[in-house]
Amino acid sequence: MDQLELDDIQGLIRHGYPYFRVAEYLFLGIDDDNVAGAKAWLAALRSEPWIDHAGLHARRLRKEDCGVAIAFTAAGLQKLGVREKDMHSFVIEFQEGMAEEHRSRILNDRGANAPQGWKWGYQDALHALLIVYQKPAQEEVPVREIMAIPGCPRILRRISGVSTNTEPFEFTDGISQPFVEGLTRKRAPRGVRPVKPGEFVLGYLNEFGRYPASPSVEMDGRARGLLPGRTDGRADFGRNGSFLVMRQLEQHVKAFKDFVNGDEQLAARMVGRWKNGSPLVRYPGEDGRARSMAELVEENDFGYHGEDRHGFRCPVGAHVRRANPRDSLADAAGIAPHEARALVDRHRILRRGRVYREDDKEGLLFLCLNANIERQFEFVQSTWLMNPEFGGLKDEIDPLLGVAVDDAPRAMTCQHSRMARRVDGLGRFVTVRGGAYFFVPGLNAIDYLARP
């Protein structure tokens, strides 16, 4: 296996920085008259160095003041001097962006979720995303220092996220994460199949044994000495980079609580886990015992096919069963459970989300990393979460994230050994408030962008 060039990969790809409780998300726009300034600012960010690389161990990072990561939209890269011809080497979904009309149909961003109603990401001048992870005691220091560097782009919007294991509906979140081969020195947890690094970082072999499509630029004076060459004579801009998907998901806590009306079993069936994170497949009844994240990860080796084939315990349409079907699709695809698991592993995402609160509204800032947006994030969203016929179901989409076109009440089916139960009257519990696709360049690629 190729050794990962950890010191060229941004730290965000390896770390979620849970020890930095606060994350400041700065949405940046580069003004036309500030392009040179922005480049200088970027160069300063690199020379300090502010931006982390993945070679740093979590133990060391913990002692640092902050962690910084930067990502760019397609418009942002073009603004920083990536030629239009070179932009065509980026995968189409990144070029088009999340708010494009056809992508909205794929992602089911319609009705209340339509990009026209977004706070950001739709036809705005969003060029880059700067994430500053820090400790609460530091207050503003790192952010202010970064903004004080001359040439800092305009801040269009700013959201702060908190590191917590519990999302606003009070469910434990972030238990299932793919284990990326070679990214850490740790061994894969029991029952977890390691996933090839090429699923998350460009320049390495993916689950198909191929290299993910990597954007390239012309090998000119600007690229020479910085970016590695490719066999076709161009410079590999994408190497050690990744694609970042970001969505602001506002959660309507009151609507959810009113609907569930204290029925913990129903709430658990919608999610597929109890609030304490224990999976319904293993625990059909609630035990109420609090569990640590380590315990939950240890317990995360369950499958659906062998333990709950028909969905009598965890409904087929439950959120976690849709988002990561594990071996649940074996019957539908007519394959063995372990084959179904391998198939599902081609659609994993590395989640880096955080809970946010913005003018009294709370929700999840969903962030995920993947090397192939179309096969990973978009596939999970369209073929599993928002598929009305997922796993043999009929006319129902994800109970938590789903939205009907005209906000009509939706339904969810809970399988039962006699006749299935149809839970009616599901409202809109989550609304998309913004979203964009970003590219997280490797450090050398950032240097390339910073060059005049």
Partner: protein, 570 residues
Amino acid sequence: MARRRPKAATQRALTILKPLRDASERAALESILRGHGNAMQSGGNSALRDAFDAIEGLHYLSWFVIDGVESASNPGAFEPPVLVLEANFDGAEKAFLRRLAGNAATKALLDEIYSRCSGYPVPGSSAEFTAHCLALGNSRPEVFYVARPGQSAAQLKEEARLAAAIEAAVGSLGEPYGRRLEHLRRIWDRLGSAQRRLIPNAPMKPFWVRHSLREQPLKAVFALVALLAVGGLITLALIGLDALGAPLWECLVPPRRVADAALCAALVLAALAGAGLVIWALFHVIEAPKDIRLSARVRIWGRKFRAIFRATIRTLPAALALVGVVAFLSWQGALLLHWASYVVLGLLAIALLAGLLLVLVAMRELVDGVDGMAWDPAKLTRLSAREDRGVQNHFISVTPVKPGRLRQAVLRIVLFLVNLLARVLYDRRGLAGIPSIHFARWQLLDGGQRLLFVTNYDGGWGGYLGDFVATAAFGMNAIWGSSGGFPRTFYLFFDGVKDEQRFKCYARNSQQETLFWYQRYPELSLAAIRRNAEMREELARLSEHLAPGAAPAAESELDAFLRRFAVPGR
């Protein structure tokens, strides 16, 4: 007794190519077709939709325009673009075209469109003559795949209605109460009399679907077991008689030569295997549901034994014929070896030829050009404008076939074999394990210069092409590997599409815009179509138990049926 059920319809495809009179007309023609297509899709022109709906047996129909090829007589110049009409329908081509040209609204559309093409009569010609002229431009696809062979468009619609009626009937009763069979009777009584008549009266599936190995593996196993067992046992008897030295059988006993011994050994092994299979089948098939009374279980066993007995009796003539052949061959063992050697030599020659072709292809593969990965957002916006609007999608691709006789020969062989496999190995899970394809076809254009692929499928484009990579890589490589610029294959079958993103980029770049697309049942996915058919079959089977004096249905079978349905609750 089994009723005489209606015959199944045959699904066919037509591809009518008509060159435009002049290349300059292309933009105008495209915008006309796009206009009609959009109006029909968005519901703006319901009259046109109704007109197409009225054409019996039509499943899908589309129009698109492809570039003309380079002129043979005048290199550098191009033939005019070609308008392609592509349709999937039930029944014969001519009859379908007559229906298409016989309908006033569709005839007017045909006249409007084809007035810009050559090879079409003056507008206002008779339907018969128009159909004839259109048929002249038709050619048959090299590979044609049908997801639900024998299921006519009308049947698909009917089954959707029946499923809705069944659902309503089950839903109105709610949770089962009392005995299951009584509950089933209540469901049955809720259905209208027309539905009760229709449900058990589904059209017969076509012969090659009914007898497909994939569809009824058990039946095939039984037939094989019966053949092997009977043949083997008789051979054993012959050998036994030989050992006893019975003079009467002397003429039938094979001379003791090595070849005969081998043949006998093979037959003994086959007989043993057959006996093993019978035992296995007894254990696995005769397993009756556990939740019913013993007397009912015995009755079920009795029925299953009778079924097996009947199946064996039915295969007996074939078994006896085989025994005859075996007896003759064991008598004439030397002759058999002689024949076998020819067969083996022939197979070897074919394998060698195939291997040689593969090596030649592999040598070309090394130097064949591969398209770079570049996505064109402007083209994609145009292509995806009508994509993912509903459950179903349409995809057309035209790729250039690599030059040279070798590629032509290999491609034609591959297409022939794929077509054979797509039909013979009819699979309930779809083409090569892809469950979401309604219809698909590959067709060579311009005498093999270009390869056309047209398909009607469910779900998103990315997931669909992803299925090609995940489950059908071999076949896709073998077919598209002969196309210019395709991701590099290795010995025809390997690599290629496994470079998933390059393949998808190639597929997008070779995609043609669907200008006009008609779907008979846009709301039905194949999953729904299968579910509807299964619901009908299950209820038809269960309803047999309602007849007076019929054996009781197994509780588990009824429960499995009821589990399909949901009742309101928490």
